[in-house]
Symmetry: C2
Subunit: 199 residues, 2 copies
């Protein structure tokens, strides 16, 4: 019986190893450089092993992105903020921190410079983040219709994701330039403005 356990454990480890390998390579060289052969090499197997666990390369990417949404959600959930007016603002900053610390992962999740946006598929992971944000909005402005919260969520995402996209696109340029730039400050002002406008 324990040999069966060992086997399933090993399979599980191999599976996560594949995902980890994909992340590692992307971190160093970007998603376009992630190949099945490199992944196999990193887990010390031959290429076909990847297809034992995933239908194709896209499925590997999809799962990596999915894990990304889970991480992002748990980061958002971990924040306990009493002040309901500061909550949304704080969420925006956390969102930004996540993107800053995992730029490649973020790009994969939202289809920047890589493959079509996985966020667009709207699986459960994505929807539940949406609920989190909408709840924060309900605290500020109660008694709106569901449709209206949807619109507000969309607008909020425009601001936050727009900021992150621009920041990631311009990152290396900006770093080289003399003028200091305070990304968090920009984002904070923008979200404050938004919160003020809806309350």
């Amino acid at each position: 019986m324990s040999s069966i356990d060992r086997k399933t454990r090993h399979k599980e480890a191999l599976r996560t190893g594949i995902l980890q390998a994909a992340r590692n390579i992307a971190l160093k060289e970007g998603w376009q450089a992630v190949t099945i052969r490199k992944i196999a090499d990193e887990v010390e197997y031959t290429p076909p092993i990847v297809y034992e666990f995933f239908e194709n390369k896209e499925a590997v990417f999809f799962e990596v992105a999915m894990d990304g949404f889970t991480i992002l959600r748990s980061m958002l959930e971990a924040e306990v903020i009493e002040d309901k007016h500061k909550k949304l603002c704080r969420y925006a900053i956390i969102h930004w921190h996540f993107a800053e610390q995992n730029p490649e992962l973020y790009k994969l999740m939202f289809g920047i410079e890589s493959i079509p946006s996985i966020a667009a598929e709207r699986p459960q992971e994505v929807l539940s983040i949406g609920e989190l944000i909408k709840n924060a909005m309900k605290a500020i402005t109660p008694d709106l219709e569901d449709k209206e919260y949807k619109e507000l969520f969309f607008q909020w995402m425009c601001i936050v994701h727009g900021f992150i996209t621009m920041a990631l696109i311009m990152r290396h340029r900006i770093e080289k330039e003399p003028d200091a730039w305070e990304p968090e400050l920009y984002l904070e002002r923008a979200t404050r403005r938004f919160i003020k406008s809806i309350q």
Copy 2:
């Protein structure tokens, strides 16, 4: 002498034909489906002909994107708006119209779902659009430092590009859903809010 003209004319036509072919294929199947062989096929030559005009595939994409910025700029410049407070708002809408009418081109220009953002390279075409926007801002809020206009431009781009990115990402989803959605209205409200905040 006229045979030399005919030849240069033909070369010029072939060059633009290659660019056009790339656009055509992307329009139908997306940028990831654009191959050198397909381009060559469309212009009725063999693959190596592409390399007579462009260093590699990326160079073809780059030039297509560059033309996109030229088109966008001329669309912005074509608008003559007296009311300086409405100008920025109108610019945002034109920007959106451009993205809506040329979604694939826009994605290429800003690195959505495709290759790294060409906008990040900041060639002249991109910079001159920036100047256009900054001038509109100067009309509303004069006497700021250059650095401050830079920040405002960045913020404005976050709003507009964030909106477009989200709209393009969510497009097919949204179209399927029952609730009507008024993209232009959302964008207009967001930019109005911004303009109000800077004046």
